[in-house]
Amino acid sequence: MANEQQAPAETKKPAEAKPTKRSLPWLSEAIVPLLAILTAVLIGAVIVFISIPSNKLPAFDLSLYGSRSDWFFSTLPERLRVTLSAFTGLFSGAFGDWSKPSTIPGAISNTLVESTPYILAGLAVAVTFKAGLFNVGAEGQLLMGALGSVAVAAFMPQWFGVASIPAIIHLPAALLAGVLAGAMWGIIPGYLRAKTGAHEVITTIMLNYIALQIMDYLINGVMKDKSATLQRTPFIHENAALPRIISKATDPSLTGGQAYPRLFTTTSSTWDLRIHMGIIIAFVMVGFIWWLMNRTPKGFEIKTVGENPEAARYAGMNITGTVVGAMGISGALAGLAGTSQVVGLEYNLKAVFSSGLGFDSLAIALLAKSNPIAIVPAALFWGALRTGAGAMQINTGISINLINIIQALVIMFIAADQIVRWIYRIKQAEGGKITFNRSWGK
């Protein structure tokens, strides 16, 4: 069971067995999250084992089996097989069925597409964790980003009364609009926090609702595509779309007459992928945030304010500016997550866009311990679970909620890392680096 989850852990084991105090400092950091994932997956496997739907097992028949318990025990091998196929299904959904190579690009592409907003929104939350803030508002900032970008991407030519605007202006304008809208939605609670002390958890939750309702209002009102039966905006202009990396040419009858750009156009169904440039932007942002946090004075200020605001104040740092700045960066990143969904993937904004991405990103930042680099594997794990869930259900008929259970268990084990440390007898991290801090996600 759980092969694909254990595989990454295995490769690291030989390294672990050796004394690793100096050589791999990141490993001792990563060991608790990895073991949390492993434990959660194992518990998930037990749940599958017990709760396999009856139609996937030989039916209980009193003449064949003496009793219910006999039946249960006689189905053990079958149960083991189904449990295994749940996880092979999860794997093949997320990374392709390796016996059918043609399924591999599509599956991996879907996983990356799923992970793109998780990376960006996870980074957004991680930045605020570092600053000692708990940004529950990534969802609202993401929605505002999506809204801002779709407004520019779909309607900008109308504002200037032209048929189209060159891509070199239109695409950056759409991205910028999304980033600014998200940043604005982050700065508001940041400013309220810094100036009035209003707790950012409360204000960001409230702003989530406001963003949702604004979006609903606009999509059902001025931004609605009158010709569509669904509640959605018109398709964005082709010059404002982020190119897909490799895909078939768009069928204009599906996209309101727009032909969206592709870096490489193919005619093969195998390579007709949804993956878009958003993933590249996400990786660039990971590098940028890592650089910002670890190589610049601003990053140092953010971390210091997060760990000890009194010391930061004493050192002459501008607390207000740092808090507002961190929330602004966070909002901008979350806005970018929403933007990339709209201009890279969906090409319009639907009233049902409401995603939960912003809430999942809290979990991702926790899993990554707010480390910008670690956000990538954490987001990929989340994306792979979500992508593989469908194939898992096809294989076993297990409720797709199993994914939610595994995700929740991972978070529980991260939050209560003493459980994991106790199960696997891991000592507290060496060095005794104890800082009194009020920051989250560590």
Binding site: L80, R81, D97, V352, I394, S399, I426
Partner: protein, 386 residues
């Protein structure tokens, strides 16, 4: 890192090939046909074992499914036909049209011997991905449940012109060659329910709690209900509320309470879980209620006792799904429209169950008469949208 931990990790590593071996072994015993493929790739490393496990398990799944299908039907094997169902956000046992569609599919599995699978959607942005999951594996017919999947099915249908698709509650203009839209005359179904509401109402006021007003099916239900009530009692007052959610039973309950306070003594809930919340609350307040989509006696009220549930305005999504699967099996599938109405049994009203004694003795006869009228066109609901 201490030794116990390392030992534990090693144990886990050791377990992997053992478990993988278990998988292939059972596959070998249950499906001899699959052994050839399994044996071909000897599991040397764990990674290889992982890869080989999946074809083996799949082969077994197909083999066992085929075996059971053959056993039940005994006819030539339509068991090669694979049908995939993608639900709207919800579950296959959530008491909404998702469940009804799945029940139709299960009937197709037992009666026609096709192989069925399903994916429960957890988020609207997953529609496309879930449909893709079936399409990339070459499922013969892929059924999407719900109006909101309209764009996703259309995109998949154009990407996979060789596969067949069906979608509940959506009609394409113009029709697509490989998609069948399964739509219903909700107004006719609600018309019958509204007529019954008017028959039992003593206060002359009745209420309807709908889901999202923008969804045509909801509006047709609510307006059909009003028309049916007025057909029986021209002076009846119908209070109509739309709630902007299908998943908010509390808001539905509150709306029902407001209508009851205004004097309504029959409440019709037409909006997924929101509507179910409305009729549950109303029934708790001893007001007659009417369910929607399927017989809510079996779902919302968990097979009773439900003395306040007088009927449900049913859309026989199960029949529609079964029929479209049958068309695929028979080879008569064609793109276009399936319209379920009173004439073809696509809509109906649910039995009275526990409320029978509280209803007028001739209620059933009268409703059947109205249904017959709707079927032969002598009665029209007069409901038009826009």
């Amino acid at each position: 890192m201490n030794k116990r931990m390392i030992a534990f990790m090693m144990l886990l590593v050791l377990m992997i090939p053992v478990l993988a071996a278990c998988g292939t072994e059972t596959a070998a015993t249950t499906a001899p046909a699959a052994t050839a493929t399994t044996a071909a790739a000897a599991p040397t490393a764990t990674a290889a074992a992982e890869v080989t496990a999946s074809p083996a398990t799949e082969a077994t799944a197909v083999a066992t499914a085929a075996a059971t299908a053959e056993a039940t039907t005994g006819a030539s094997t339509p068991s090669d036909i694979k049908i995939g169902l993608v639900t709207d956000v919800g579950k296959v046992d959530d008491g909404t049209f998702n469940q009804f569609a799945f029940e139709g599919l299960k009937r197709a599995e037992t009666e026609l011997g096709v192989k069925i699978d399903y994916i429960e959607t957890i988020d609207p942005k997953d529609y496309e991905k879930n449909i893709e999951q079936f399409a990339s594996q070459g499922y013969d017919l892929i059924i999407g449940v719900g109006f909101l999947m309209g764009d996703a099915i259309k995109a998949a249908a154009s990407k996979y012109p060789d596969l067949k698709f069906a979608i509940v509650d959506f009609a394409y203009e113009p029709a697509l060659p490989n998609v069948k839209g399964l739509v219903f005359s909700e107004d006719e179904s609600a018309f019958i329910a509204g007529a019954l509401a008017a028959m039992v109402s003593k206060s002359g006021k009745i209420g309807a709690v709908g889901g999202k007003e923008q969804v045509p099916a909801v509006k047709k239900f609510v307006l059909g209900y009003e028309a049916g009530a007025k057909y029986v009692n021209a002076d009846i007052q119908v209070s109509k509320v739309y709630i902007d959610s299908f998943t908010d039973p509390t808001a539905g309950g509150e709306a029902a309470k407001t209508q009851i306070a205004e004097g309504a003594d029959v409440i019709f809930g037409a909006g997924g879980q929101t509507g179910s919340g409305a009729i549950k609350t109303a029934a708790d307040n001893n007001v007659f209620v009417i369910g929607v989509d399927q017989d809510e006696y079996n779902t919302t009220f968990k097979k009773g006792p439900a003395p306040m549930l007088i009927t449900s305005a049913m859309k026989r999504v199960d029949n529609a799904v079964f029929d479209v699967v049958k068309e695929v099996v028979d080879g008569t599938f064609a793109g276009g429209l399936y319209l379920g109405n009173a004439a073809n049994g696509g809509i109906d009203y649910a039995p009275f169950h526990d409320a029978e004694s509280a209803l007028p003795a001739d209620a059933k006869a009268k409703l059947d008469e109205i249904k017959k009228g709707l079927a032969d066109g002598t009665i029209t609901t007069g409901v038009t949208l826009n």
